[in-house]
């Protein structure tokens, strides 16, 4: 039962390819807490890159700096070759706590990004309906967030980010408030969406298994101050049965290797 489709790629700083997001010398401190120090990082176009590391190592901070929601103390972010310091149309964020409008239906929530851009109601709802179907929520358009489960709420958050047609999707631990069963299902859907949507995903997680399962590239961050400790490219063929990936030796070896690297930071 050996799965030959799983290969472990080279580790440590691979050749820089066509990078859609470039992070150069980014540092950030909150008071005297140094959250990030001198981060240099490229995010390849069309790939899913995970930021992985123990709690407090600055994953959310880095993602929010890329999103333009937090200002860096030093360094620059460029997207598609242009330096950015504010949120822009080429980036969309999926929030850890969903950040849905409780007073708005699923349809309005998904269309909200387009509403803010002044798109006409009929047009934005057509787009929203398409993505509601895409994330598997067809039939729930008129429900309110409190009528949905955690997993379904995050699907709304994902559909909202897809609707604005950004090149880069920034996801901050999107599954951390979702139960394990839904999380598995959601991971499979994300892998499927990634192949159909032709977008770049930057994904924050603290689950090693999750990172290895879904990522093209994993950036390991070390805490206090947050720095890049290692970059791993699992190179897993995800066209096979998901359950086989979870049992595959190469998958398990990669998980183990990352754990050995991170173990020193966990107290």
């Amino acid at each position: 039962m050996r799965n030959a489709t799983l290969r472990k790629g080279p580790t440590l700083m691979p050749e820089p390819v066509d990078a859609i997001v470039e992070v150069r010398g980014v540092s950030k401190s909150y008071g005297n807490v140094e959250a990030l120090r001198g981060i240099d990082l490229d995010f390849p176009r069309g790939k899913l890159t995970s930021l992985l590391g123990p709690s407090g190592c600055g994953k959310t901070t880095l993602l929010k700096i890329i999103a333009g929601l937090v200002n860096a103390d030093a360094g620059t972010i460029s997207v598609n070759g242009r330096t950015v310091s504010k949120p822009g149309p080429e980036r969309a964020f999926v929030f850890q706590d969903f950040a849905l409008l409780p007073w708005a239906t699923v349809l309005r929530n998904v269309a909200f990004g387009l509403e803010l851009r002044g798109k006409a109601a009929a047009e934005r709802e057509k787009i929203a309906r398409h993505y509601i179907g895409e994330v598997g929520l067809a039939g729930f358009e008129d429900k309110y967030p409190h009528e949905l489960s955690g997993g379904m709420r995050q699907r709304v958050g994902l559909a909202r980010a897809l609707s604005v047609d950004a090149d880069v999707l920034l996801l901050d631990e999107p599954f951390s408030a979702v139960d394990e069963q839904n999380r598995r299902k959601f991971q499979e859907d994300l892998i499927r969406l990634r192949t159909t949507q032709n977008k770049t995903f930057i994904f924050v997680t603290h689950s090693i298994e999750e990172a290895v399962y879904i990522s093209d590239r994993i950036v390991l961050l070390s805490p206090r101050p947050g720095r890049i400790s290692q970059i791993i490219e699992p190179e897993i063929d995800r066209s096979v049965d998901p359950d086989r990936i979870h049992r595959d030796k190469h998958y398990l070896d990669t998980v183990e290797e990352i754990w050995q690297g991170l173990k020193q930071y966990v107290d």
Binding site: G68, L69, P87, F93, G113, P145, H146
Partner: protein, 274 residues
Amino acid sequence: MAGVGTEGGAISLAPSTGRSDAGRWQDNPTLLRVLSVVLFAGIWQIAGMIPVSFAFPTFVDTFTAFLGMIADGSLPKAYLSTLQPLILGVVLSTFLGVGVGTLCGLWRTGEWLFIPIFIVLQAAPVAAFIPMVTFIYGIGMTAKTLAVMILALPVIVLNTYKAVRNVNVSLIAMCQSFLGTRWQVVSRIILPDASPVIFAGLRLGVAAGFVGVVLAELLITPTGIGDLITFHRSRANYAAMYATIASIIALSTLTLVALEWVETRMFRPEKRGA
């Protein structure tokens, strides 16, 4: 895993055993409200018939006096005079209060400038200011409108301010990340998110506005509803006096119900079912 299922089942089963058919009318809110009114009227009627005091009319006498005052035009005339400053005062307090409260919630300088004033006003027995207002503005419409605003404004400002300060920051970040402008953040996130607490303040403010206008009419400006109450009391016409008092209480209650309707209809539709 089985425990989760049985727990929910046990809770829903327990109250219904033994009175499964009785649960039906008990769950009908409209019927219960009508019943509550009928019960209240019944107790009033009995208390009036005992009687608890020679000055306490029965429900039927009061209701007859109410119809009589509508027929002879004295009640509509009194309301015409009372409602003008009341509506004006409440509407002004609503817009001014929500505006100032929002500004103070968003803007540090405004917070330091205005909030202490309203905290003092809310703590002070502001009814004591009403004679002062008359002293300055006479006994006309302006004085009554000001009386309404003095009572209504502080609670509206303070509730709005509190609600805006405690707005969900994650929703604001969401709006910004999807390129919302400053104005969109305020109008589409902050105000709707704050609306339950703002409306709680509006309900208290409107109720206080009713207090303000009646106080003004009782204390200083003998017109409108306040004057009608005073007039019938001086004539020992207690049924008419009680009818006037009951009518203003009923109107105040209906206004608060209408306010709640506006809230769930226009601002927080997700609470409609609850």
